[in-house]
């Protein structure tokens, strides 16, 4: 299926899942129309394109919608397999390992750091921070195993798992600014700390990742809207 045709991405500026897809599209060298969504007032297009979950990101390719960020990333790698860089490794076992850790990040890291933001008490916040650190400790091991001494999870350049983890970094920075939680302790997770800096410095990240302050502003707006008992810095 050659050619890019009509490509639209429905997104929201601070959604890490949208950032993940933008990273993938950047890796494939694909140009697209980005359409910012107001998640408090969902558009007809969004509701029509993702009637089941009503969420972003949604990639609309040639009029056909694809939903769920990891599904979209795999789609992009397959449909544009001749273009840009390969996101997935070729070896089935390496692919399975990459999928395993990407699922782990979504199941365990995201709820933990969102939990820090939403926590109503200091105890709850500390509990969630502890959870996040356990996840990062596991990811440190994963990095050692997957990278085999190279700069990224995928090796010499970024791949599926780098994108899956990396899209969350700006939120971790935002939460560090708001609540003082240190996620990347060079003493505890040296490989991950080095990788995080390296990742943020890539051309791809500099182009598609929003500033952590944008996330801070959004978080404060959410807190004001839904009410939070503990205030951020």
């Amino acid at each position: 299926m050659a050619g890019e045709g009509d490509i639209k991405l429905l997104g929201m500026v601070v959604s890490p899942f949208v950032v993940r897809v933008r990273m993938a599209l950047h890796r494939k060298g694909v140009s697209y129309e980005y359409v910012e969504q107001d998640l408090f007032n969902k558009s007809e297009l969004l509701l029509r394109s993702n009637p089941v979950n009503k969420k972003v990101p949604v990639l609309i390719h040639g009029g056909k919608p694809i939903c769920e960020s990891l599904v979209i990333v795999q789609y992009a790698d397959e449909v544009w397999s001749g273009k840009g860089a390969s996101i997935f490794p070729a070896d089935p076992h390496e692919r399975a390992v990459a999928r395993f850790w990407a699922a782990y990040v979504d199941d365990k890291l995201f709820p933990a750091y969102i939990g820090i933001m939403k926590a109503a008490t200091e105890e709850a916040r500390a509990e969630k921070a502890k959870e996040a650190l356990v996840v990062l400790a596991n990811l440190e091991e994963a990095f050692a195993q997957c990278s085999k001494g190279k700069p990224f999870f995928a090796g010499d350049s970024v791949g599926y798992l780098d994108l899956a983890v990396g899209c969350n970094l700006f939120w971790l920075e935002a939460i560090r600014k708001m609540f003082g939680v240190t996620f990347f302790d060079v003493g505890k997770t040296p490989l991950l700390a080095a990788w995080a800096e390296r990742f943020a410095g890539t051309e791809m990240a500099r182009e598609v990742v929003p500033d952590a302050d944008t996330a801070v502003v959004f978080a404060k707006k959410l807190q004001a809207r839904f009410g939070s008992n503990t205030s951020a810095k």
Partner: protein, 239 residues
């Protein structure tokens, strides 16, 4: 089957996630060693193969472990691409649709259903069931779209979504026996009810799915254990 392939499935007979992997292996025509784990006394092999979650299923292929049922099914499809039928379609868009619905089965059907089975209050139970039935209705629509008039989510042949959903059949039947509730109501969701009949008749399915009576016994024992634990803790609180 390719020579020299050593396939070990670390599992537990009652787990639908383990059944899911057995289904995939059976549909591909692959032979494997079925290793029953005692989940109250997990083996060294299980703990070293899945140190992060310590859960079944784990597929060990020539010594290398693969974890998480949907990931294992995709691995089987990719590692044994030349053997047996393909479990995912070749078109990228259709693959994306299959992956979407496979994730939906676990996130929106299994999760609330498990919640209803483990619920400690009537409220929790009915909320779980409400969400379960809502997901079932959505899946009826998905089957209509994906099957394109054929018998399966995968079209003419069984695919990833059929395997993901099909792994639940013994538990769906057991739930009907225990509570009288049909999760795939033939009146409300006729396509799914017909699909369930069709799928259960397949040899690969019959070989993988645990016997309903056994699951009923297992579920009743678990319910009794949970009730006893709840009663005991209440007694402790009062004392």
């Amino acid at each position: 089957m390719a020579g020299g392939d050593d396939l070990k499935l670390l599992g537990a007979w009652a787990s639908p996630f383990v059944t899911r992997v057995k289904l995939a292996l059976n549909f591909k025509g692959l032979s494997f060693e079925d290793v029953e784990e005692d989940l109250s006394n997990k083996s060294e092999l299980l703990l070293s193969s899945n140190p992060v979650h310590k859960k079944v299923p784990v597929l060990v292929h020539n010594g290398k472990p693969i974890c998480e049922s949907v990931i294992i099914v995709q691995y089987i499809d990719e590692a044994f691409a030349g053997i047996g039928p393909a479990l995912l379609p070749s078109d990228p868009y259709e693959r994306a649709i299959a992956r979407f619905w496979a994730a939906y089965v676990d996130d929106k059907l299994v999760a609330p259903w498990v919640q209803s089975l483990r619920a400690k209050t009537e409220e929790e139970k009915s909320e779980g069931l409400k969400q379960t039935f809502a997901a079932v209705e959505t899946l009826e629509g998905a089957l209509r779209e994906c099957s394109k008039g054929e018998g399966y989510f995968g079209g003419e042949t069984v695919g990833l979504v059929d395997i993901s959903l099909g792994s639940l059949l013994s538990w769906l039947n057991a739930t009907e026996v225990i509570s009288g509730t049909k999760i795939f109501d033939p009146v409300k969701t006729p396509l799914l009810a017909a699909w369930m009949e069709r799928f259960s008749k397949l040899d690969a399915a019959k070989a993988a799915l645990p016997e309903v009576d056994r699951v009923v016994e297992f579920a009743k024992k678990r319910q009794a254990q949970a009730a006893a634990a709840a009663a005991a803790s209440e007694t402790n609180v009062r004392a």
